[in-house]
């Protein structure tokens, strides 16, 4: 699974996710990536793209959950990402990337590693795999 989240210079957020799914999956199986609110979500507060155990991400409506705890609990982007990874996955394993309309970027995962990279206008840039 691959994904990208962006907030542009006008503060508009967007998210996109694309995948081949699970190796050895049944034909016809649909995972979280195409489900809006589960694998992908964007609103005027943030943009989120998820990856990992599709069934757990779907049950936790993971991408929308990040936006929801920002809106209703007033959490910052990183706090929201950490909360959702910690509290909304039950036994599942997943990772996600997110940006906020304020130009923040965040990532969280409870898997062994996650291929990810991020950059901000003030020059910060990071590419990583492990914790």
């Amino acid at each position: 699974t691959v994904g990208c989240v962006v907030v542009d210079s006008k503060g508009r957020c967007a998210a996109a996710t694309s995948t081949g799914g699970l190796m050895n999956k049944m034909n016809g199986r649909i995972g979280d990536s195409p489900l809006i609110g589960a694998g992908t979500y964007a609103c005027n507060v943030c943009g989120v793209s998820c990856t990992g155990e599709g069934e757990a991400i779907i049950r936790g409506t993971l991408a929308r959950e990040v936006a929801a705890v920002m809106e209703y609990k007033g959490l910052s982007l990183q706090e929201a990402v950490d909360f959702v990874i910690k509290e909304r996955l039950d036994e599942g394993q997943a990772g996600l990337i997110a940006v906020s309309n304020k130009g923040d970027v965040a990532c969280g995962f409870n898997t062994t590693g996650m291929f990810r990279g991020c950059a901000t206008e003030d020059g910060f840039m990071e590419v990583g795999i492990w914790e």
């Binding site: 998210a15 996109a16 694309s18 081949g20 990992g52």
Partner: protein, 195 residues
Amino acid sequence: MGGWAIAVHGGAGVDPNLPPQRQEEAKQLLTRCLNLGISALRSNDSAIDVVELVVRELETDPLFNSGRGSALTAEGTVEMEASIMDGNGRRCGAVSGLTTVKNPVSLARLVMEKSPHSYLAFSGAEDFARKQGVELVDNEYFITEENVGMLKLAKEANTIVFDYRIPTVGSESCSAVAESPIQMNGLPISVYAPE
């Protein structure tokens, strides 16, 4: 209000034994995609255009599980899915079950912009793709040697494998997959194996 920001991912759940050279390849691809997005943002492209541009690049490169290099179904074929969402107006588009569309994320965007729906799947999505004139390729285009080997390992281990790049070593890794306590929704992955 802050400036622009961008993040990309290539999947979660990485084999701890992934060879350093493969790790370096992954980092180079992520860096290339970040730079592609950064130059688009510096040209004042909109967020929705930039996420589509970057995910297309990731779909075209066979390294990660999407587009070319996608995971294989139990029958050894590729079935892809994608979605895109524009926070500005909360518009969205999604596709599933694609077998010939070269860049699924662009078809998802066309569903958002050129159809009255937000999600098209399987033959309906393929028909829509033909009508929209997007680039179509044979299913073989998406299948890589490495993933044929991975599917073999998964079948021998009678399991389903995540966004895992198990290095193509001997069958011992397959036993690793079989013995590894991979869980899905709190159940051992083997529960899903019959799928």
